[in-house]
Symmetry: C2
Subunit: 227 residues, 2 copies
DNA sequence: TTTGACTTCAAACAGTTGTTTGAATAAGGT
DNA sequence: ACCTTATTCAAACAACTGTTTGAAGTCAAA
């Protein structure tokens, strides 16, 4: 058997990187359990033991694939309430939220890993909720509170927040379904931007409806006294 | 014979049922790959080989757990356009959609299995899309087409449909997230009904907004007749 | 050239997986 | 009583899992 085509000593960390991205691709495609380190090593053109060498173990490799490629891709911070008109804010929000759908394959795969974590938790998901989902959710909650003049979010506002975010999230979770039922909806960057704008307008309509509902309805019972 | 016709043994098909529901519970909790037939058999108080005996193999058991417990729990059919006022229709739609969230544990676990299938396909998901998701989606598309006087759904209408359904779906997919961020939103049947009503109102607001958008906007460019 | 740290590799390890086997047990029909 | 059929069981099977091993290789500095 002739030696493998890859250079035997190919500058150290190259193998690590190949491993990382092969792992990202395979984990995103098939999940943690269905992906074996042997498959990853083979796809990366590296030896099985290289994953032990560079990442400790399979879980370490998964963790690296989960966090590293995203780099400093910080979630778009929500502007402080009042500094930006609500329509602009919502449009910006959905543009940011859906941005990964337009980006490179690697980012999309990371996103896919993150959503996979929701359904098939490997242990990183608590960390993910606190670091990614909670700030995003509470950012929007804060904005809506200011919008309705609330000091503290009530249940209706929480519902509204989940509904608004859920509209966006759905296009990540259900990528394959959209693909099967109406592929044109997500084809090309233009379609994504248009989608973000429509979702923003939809969210604004929902917020307006909620505002009317609150105006029409008598003051909800206050469980806590003022402090 | 694979299907045991008569219970020769007192516990006969009981073992099959115990196996089925233990499998449902464990598959829903941990997914296909992370669940071993040994664990299932032990949880069911049956022997490992009983799964081979009753279901052929692990995949057969999974399939049975996936389809059987739902029984005739048909998805609520969408009424023909025009027979029901839109607000009632949307309220009914979300009540039906969220109904499983109030139902027994078994149904919820099946639902969880179904959503798991979206992210971690085991091969049943094509079948699922065609039998469950497509009819639901196209039912709503048909209603909205009638609402806007369209012969055929355009991309905007597809977007709107996904956004509306996505709001509801999100509360299945992200049950754990809701639990972590604002548990009161989904606590108790009353909360679910209220949630369904709010989502319906939100959807109606979005539909109204879209109607206005269509009215305000010049006729969408028709590509085919130009030139 | 020799040294020594860094990197690769094939092989082996120990454990778990889904599945099969063949004997043992129970119930009914004759 | 017998025979047949249905069901259970412990054990064994082969294949695969993630991980470790120890030797071999590569390269830069001494």
């Amino acid at each position: 058997m002739s030696p493998p085509t890859v250079a035997a000593r190919s500058d150290g960390a190259q193998a690590r990187e190949r491993l990382l991205y092969a792992a990202l691709r395979l984990f995103a495609a098939s999940g943690f359990e269905r992906t074996s380190v042997r498959d990853i090593a083979q796809a990366a053109g590296a030896n099985v033991s290289a994953v032990g060498y560079y990442f400790g173990d399979k879980a370490g490799l998964y963790r690296a694939a989960f966090f590293e490629p995203l780099g400093d891709h910080c979630q778009g911070e929500m502007p402080a309430p009042g500094t930006v008109p609500l329509p602009d804010l919502m449009h910006g929000f959905f543009r940011d939220l859906l941005k990964p759908l337009k980006q490179g394959e690697a980012v999309q795969q990371v996103i896919r890993l993150h959503f996979r974590e929701i359904v098939e938790p490997t242990g990183l998901w608590k960390e993910m909720i606190e670091n990614e989902l909670r700030p995003q959710h509470e950012g929007l909650v804060r904005v809506l509170c200011a919008e309705f003049g609330l000091r503290k979010a009530d249940m209706e506002l929480q519902r509204l927040t989940f509904a608004i975010i859920g509209m966006g999230i759905h296009f990540f979770v259900a990528q394959d379904i959209v693909q099967a039922l109406a592929p044109e909806v997500m084809e090309g960057p233009g379609a994504i931007d248009a989608l973000a704008d429509r979702l923003a307008e939809g969210a604004l309509a929902m917020i307006e409806a909620e505002r009317r509902r609150r105006a029409a309805q008598p003051r909800p019972a206050r469980r806590r006294s003022t402090r």
